[in-house]
Subunit: 188 residues, 2 copies
DNA sequence: AATAATATGTCAGTCATGTTGACTTTCCAA
DNA sequence: TTGGAAAGTCAACATGACTGACATATTATT
């Protein structure tokens, strides 16, 4: 029982009217910059919120059947993406403390989803790998997540997808953007 | 002290090499659907994760100075967006239980950021409004968030922004998409 | 060889935010 | 007048963050 989402929670059904907050933009000139108005940006933020919720909902549902949560999913994702990475690297990607990661990692190792290998060059390091069992869960989770992504990509089309990724990339912290783009400088 | 993020947490500094997971796509024909490969979709998911983290980081930093967290931000956002909405409507937008919302809402009301007005037609309903103080915090928070969004939008350009929003919209749950689009069927 | 620094792991305590379940009060509507 | 809806509350609990302190290997430096 990891999450246990949405049982008492209400489903939608609004009532009120519109609001009208949006206003001018700081940086002068009217050269077709309507997409930069406060209102447009507020809408973008709201879209991020709603989309992210949907984006995490499918894997969360799967995780409920295990004793795992979103934190486990993230760890599994990055270990799958970069097999053999060490704990510090994973820590940096996840942006949490080692105490927090440790709890997650311990259960994954105990349950035989993740394997630690002592570093050859530096024996202090533990290199992380998914076991076959771990890889199986990873596939389950990312299949579920990809299903929604694929459907959204299809609906929006390749040009939109390109823009989607450009904006997301521009939003990231530079260090993470670097990691995100690792080994594929060519493709946009 | 709401969040208290990033003090012990590490900064980036990776080591390992690339992985190479991506594979074929389920749905046959090679009609320029390279953007739908598993690897591309995995990358999209990762981009969502990194971008969302950056997206919430700025308001989180502001919230640290108050006794508030992200949950308060979300409540304030929607009350600002749709002044006068009732508790049930807010519940549906946030997707949490009323007990969970209540805790947040109570502190916001006690601290004088949110005002409840008894419904005129239905006196059971409480319509929620931001006070001047609440509106001030909302501006602070959304200014911070918008700064990053604006910068990302500028870097990516109007065409990318259009695509960005199309993909996010396609990812949302239908009910929330309806709310998201409320009162602006015209504009894309 | 001794010492410092690094990588990892762990214990203990706290906090924010989510959850269930049970129950009350107020009020609308059939 | 009675049933149900909207709101609010109490209590208990889970998860995943956090801090601080400390232990153990192992590598790097002096």
């Amino acid at each position: 029982m990891a999450s246990g989402r949405m049982t008492e929670a209400k489903t939608i059904g609004l009532s009120g009217g519109p609001s009208g907050i949006g206003s001018g933009i700081g940086s002068g000139g009217s050269e077709g910059l309507l997409y930069l108005t406060d209102e447009q940006l507020r809408r973008g933020a709201e879209a991020m919120f709603f989309a992210y919720r949907a984006f995490t909902a499918d894997p969360d549902r799967i995780l409920e059947n295990y004793a795992y949560g979103r934190a486990h999913h993230r760890a599994i994702h990055f270990i799958n993406r970069q097999p053999g990475l060490n704990v510090n690297a994973l820590l940096a990607l996840l942006g949490v403390t080692k105490q927090s990661l440790n709890r997650v990692l311990r259960t994954l190792i105990e349950d035989g989803l993740v394997e630690q290998r002592v570093g050859r060059r530096d024996k202090r390091e533990r290199h992380l790998h998914l076991t076959e069992k771990g890889a199986a869960l990873e596939r389950d989770l990312s299949d579920a997540q990809r299903a929604r992504m694929r459907s959204a990509y299809r609906q929006a089309g390749p040009a939109a997808v390109l823009g989607f990724r450009q904006v997301l990339e521009a939003m990231m912290d530079p260090d993470l953007r670097r990691f995100y783009n690792e080994g594929r400088e060519g493709q946009p």
